[in-house]
């Protein structure tokens, strides 16, 4: 029973090709907004869409990039920069982290594991 529960926790978001390279998009799961980003190498990341600094649901509309080798997204409102892998805010001390979710791509389909969300 447990095994099948974990299996259904991988939720389909979209096709990788629906995401523009180096750009984000927002997916909605049971009312929760999750920002998905496809990077230059087709790696996909999932973080919370809510900007911890302003409370607005905008992270999917931020610019991605790297800071000293870490993959990042910048809030489009006040430009705080977050680590896409850990969710940690790299630019400002004391700003809460973004929640993150495991993502996988199978047969060109992006799936997000909602178990921890």
């Amino acid at each position: 029973m447990t095994a099948s529960l974990i299996a259904v926790d991988w939720r389909v978001a979209c096709r990788v090709s629906d995401l523009l390279p180096e750009r984000g998009a927002c997916a909605l799961f049971d009312g929760a907004q999750i920002a998905l980003f496809r990077l230059w190498d087709d790696q996909v990341y999932a973080v919370g869409n809510r900007d911890p600094y302003t409370g607005a649901h905008v992270m999917a509309r931020g610019l991605v990039g790297t800071r000293a080798g870490r993959r990042t997204v910048a809030s489009p409102l006040h430009k705080q920069v977050y680590d896409l892998v850990t969710g940690e805010c790299l630019s400002d001390q004391g700003v809460p982290s973004l929640p993150t979710w495991p993502v996988r791509v199978r047969d060109g389909v992006v799936e997000v594991e909602l178990q921890r969300g």
């Binding site: 390279p21 997916a27 909605l28 302003t54 409370g55 610019l63 990039g65 800071r67």
Partner: protein, 823 residues
Amino acid sequence: MTRHLVVVGHGMVGQRMVEALTDRDTKAEWRVTVLGEETHSAYDRVALSRYLTDPAAALGLVSEGWYDGGRRTCHLGDPAVAIDRSARTVRTAAGRELTYDALVLATGSKAFVPPVPGADLGGCHVYRTLDDLDRIRAEATSARAAVVVGGGLLGLEAAGGLRDLGVPVHVVEFAPHLMPQQVDAGGGEALRRLVEGLGVRVHAGVGTASLQSDADGRVVSATLTDGTVLDTQLVVFAAGIRARDELARSVGLGVGTRGGVLVDRSCRTEDPAIWAVGECAAVEGSVYGLVAPGYAMAEVVADRLLGGSGELAEPDMSTKLKLLGVEVASFGATQGPLDVVFSDPVAGIYKKLVISDDARTLLGGVLVGDASVYAGLRPLIGRALPATPETLLFGEVSVADDAQVCSCNAVTKKDVVDAITEQGATDVPAIKACTRAGTSCGSCIPMLKSLLDECGVHVSKALCEHFAYSRAELFELVRTSDIRTFSGLIAAHGTGHGCDLCKPAVASILASLGNGYILDGEQAALQDTNDHALANMQRNGTYSVVPRIPGGEITPEKLIVIGEVARDFNLYTKITGGQRIDLFGARLDQLPQIWKRLIDAGFESGQAYGKALRTVKSCVGETWCRYGVQDSVGLAIDLELRYRGLRAPHKIKMAVSGCARECAEARSKDIGVIATENGWNLYVAGNGGFRPRHADLFASDLDTETLLTYVDRILMFYLRTGERLQRTAAWLESLDGGLDYLRSVVCDDVLGIGADLDASMAAHVANYSDEWADTLADPERLARFVPFINAPGVTDTSIEIVYERGQPRPARPGELPLEVLPR
């Protein structure tokens, strides 16, 4: 349907061709087949000499599995041998028959072997492929001495490699000095001294007359045209290259007078399905033997194959390299109207700057023995000298403590140093604040920068960790090359994949250079949220919508439409400081519907979201006002329509006042115009903002035509030389020579770029197109305006609104959202 590209040739440029197309071909329009003559995958031929001493050197350019046999296929050791242009097929040596939709010739070149008697003897080699180098290495062990025929870049590379293998080397150069293509006589002489100091014998100004052999047909000596006989068992020809154009010749395609497949600036041959890139191509007759122009050609063809209109810009033939441990660099012109030369035969250093005859503009230079200033100088080509030539050549200044640095304000070097070391000034603005140095004419600003450097304060203008260049430097790199993509730019001049700082800056540069619709292709990924949504994001993630109202003049009918749209979409409405109307609170998915209504009523984007022209504010002028002396509204509308959509380092605001009473507050704008009895007074570089600054009077009593020319040039010069997010006020203050210098560039054309600036602005005006109309016309572009990728029709309920003074506004934290008012 997928089209088929066949690339003939698998060298550096051929490989780049496939990579460039793969990068850009996001819709998978093409599949590619590559035919390589050598049995090796593409390798870095520029680093060939490394392979001579280290056969294990990793020079490969293609990672395992990159050619997947599907969309990308590569056949090694199977060169193309015939083309059938009418059937569009290529036949290979192994008998493959490939049909193509497009054919790219990237066959490169072969080594040129001068017609020397004995050139075909055993022990004679060319210096071109890995196989050539394997043979040279094998024979070097038993050679007592080697002769390299050719004292250019390749010849010195070969000499360096042979020397490292322990073989005594002679270099024979027919021209009077070494590296005649890159450096002048003085540089060549310095180079000779350095190279001879390393044990390489140089014979310049002589040819190779003949080669003699032993009984086995192996070379034993070389006789030069001056009668010298050199004992040698190994001869390497590195005397130049000849384009491999035989395939093109065999099917009747034109070739250049000195060889090479004749192509236009799009790299297309006279056959529209056949292209040529790299060393086998003769672009408008010229063959380029460096890899950078070849890469640029590959990018152009990739762009063209996907429907673009890229053209090869004048290639940058600048080079910097280390030959035999000696640094050699040349950039721009190597000879010119004025030369500033430094030569130190003892230290083996030769430096030359080529400058314009008014001694203000850097045209090029040659550096031998010490090329450390190359990186700083090369981006300055065609630009005003930021310091004296001596300072530029040595990157240092030496001034007595009590010497006046700023004569306008009588500030000494000691005053400035104290400001830095004791008052903690870390940049030029801080020095200005402490000492007033540099606040008047601005001519001492380079000196202030050097003093900061001297005191150990490093002022970096680097854009971010991905680019070591400032925005202005990057602008020049893009403008003077044919790079028109972020990936191309970062590959050529940066590292990594970019970030939220460099991407929008580069996007703005590309837009300034007229790269078309800002959300097409790769450009889309670079745009800041505002430019991506073509609207201004507000604190709650909704957007504001600002239609353009040129000069603030609007008909009642259009006002009614704005009112209706605001009412129907429940938008907060406010008159802006720029005499237009801002509609707040639009959700991402509402933007296209809102703009459909506005565009149907004759509105267009107001670019309130872009680092671009915002508005041209005006007073009502002589049309109605009893004090007005000119038609200020008419001019404001003309200016706004002329410069609308112009992307810049930062936003640009303008205003036109109809008389000296200045009701339009023009002196607080980047460009301000105030009417006089005789015409217009032009003011520049004002702003409100954090640090208000009144605009400076630039010119008086201009007629409208001259006014437009001046504004054209000022804006274009700002676009080219401004730094990231630098308003015109800060820009003018940072210009060495300040206002006078700007006048000399704009009015007297001291840089000789006036016509170029005019043409750039004319191109902007001619190519303007409304971004919102373009967006609405294309379903693919509209697809971006959905709130949720997996639930396109669902409304974002996280946006909470309350009402105040009869209009909606974002709810503050903890505020109870109210029901949306019924319409």
